[in-house]
Symmetry: C2
Subunit: 189 residues, 2 copies
DNA sequence: AGTAATAGCCTAGAGGGTCTAGGTTTGAGA
DNA sequence: TCTCAAACCTAGACCCTCTAGGCTATTACT
């Protein structure tokens, strides 16, 4: 019988696609094996276990998102850059809910360092260059921005904003206005 | 043989405690049944299924947190109130990681309405009364605040802030300063 | 007090998932 | 052509969810 040609990379890709379809929590090694026309046990020569698979999806998603954000950021600065970053982030989360959920798995330090997480931090810092901020304010701002983006996207997904007629997109762009304002006028410690 | 005295409420309580111990995702009907000295199948006369159990934990956590926030808010206004709310939120999330995770399950509209979610929204609006904001800005602010709180707490938990020496508590209080500033000076549309 | 109804608990078991141990096939290079 | 490691397999242990159907303790009513 012909080989299915499974590799860890293909598994991660397939798992990511499946996650976007059925939800990150519902991705199973079994379902993946079925997809490749192979027995469950076979996959364990490519991945250590389910957690390992999930981490691979997280790393993949982190890199994909970093690429998108980098593209969105090209040639922009100041508020333009802020808005481009934020929208790239939110759009990715909406288009790839499973991948986005994967990004929330806790990575062990080694994996985190070798992942695209550093690029995300760098790019956020790049935005802040338009705002005349120095350390440690910069770090505080990076944390605030990331928190707000993630929080908004994540509450939007679980339906936390459904109980007001106010359009979610409008609130989002007002939130970006507010972030821009606070970065331009960062309060002294 | 004596009855174990299982009720849906006790199950939700036990599930919440277990969630804080082993993580919300790892709460199983089986483990719960073992805790009560009862067979798995017996629990299904009290809960519909695992999802139902999780929703009950979410509702429980929502109510508990609302109580805490209400207590923290009593007699405060303006920035004091903002900080008290935020800290009550973050403290609860840290003390009860499992319960906090439960709060992120998607509730169907009926459950959401009958839950304490409304109280949370009301209390956030109460804070904003110290800031001279009217609709629809108020709704935008509620969303921004909630997003930032949730985002920060949630990134902190998965270790997103571990890669800078800057103390997480300090960044947090600077974020609250920033939110206060932006609420006092909410940018026009 | 006697009885009927109900709620709480049980056994049995189907079905699906993770993961290990150990065996067989395949393909690429010596 | 032979070798050997990688890719895949079977078998099976173990845990989990949830249904069906049955027994029993408690409660509620006559």
């Amino acid at each position: 019988m012909a080989r299915a040609g499974v590799t860890a990379e293909r598994l991660a890709q397939a798992a990511a696609d499946l996650a976007d379809e059925v939800g990150f929590e519902n991705v199973t090694v079994s379902a993946l094996a079925r997809g490749f026309g192979v027995k469950d046990a076979s996959l364990y020569s490519h991945i250590r276990n389910l957690h390992d698979l999930r981490v691979r999806v997280a790393v993949l998603a982190l890199a994909e998102l970093a690429d998108r954000v980098a593209a969105a950021l090209a040639g922009r600065e100041g508020k333009d850059a802020l808005v481009a970053f934020a929208n790239a982030y939110r759009t990715y989360a909406k288009e790839h809910p499973g991948r986005y959920a994967a990004m929330q798995v806790e990575l062990d330090p080694a994996t985190a360092v070798s992942s695209a997480a550093g690029r995300h931090a760098e790019m956020t810092r790049a935005i802040l260059r338009g705002y005349e901020l120095s350390e440690p304010d910069q770090t505080d701002c990076v944390r605030l921005l990331h928190s707000t983006f993630h929080g908004y996207v994540s509450l939007e997904k679980v339906g936390g904003f459904r109980y007001s007629p106010r359009e979610v997109d409008v609130s989002w762009s007002r939130a970006l206005d507010a972030l821009d304002a606070v970065l331009r006028n960062w309060p002294p410690a």
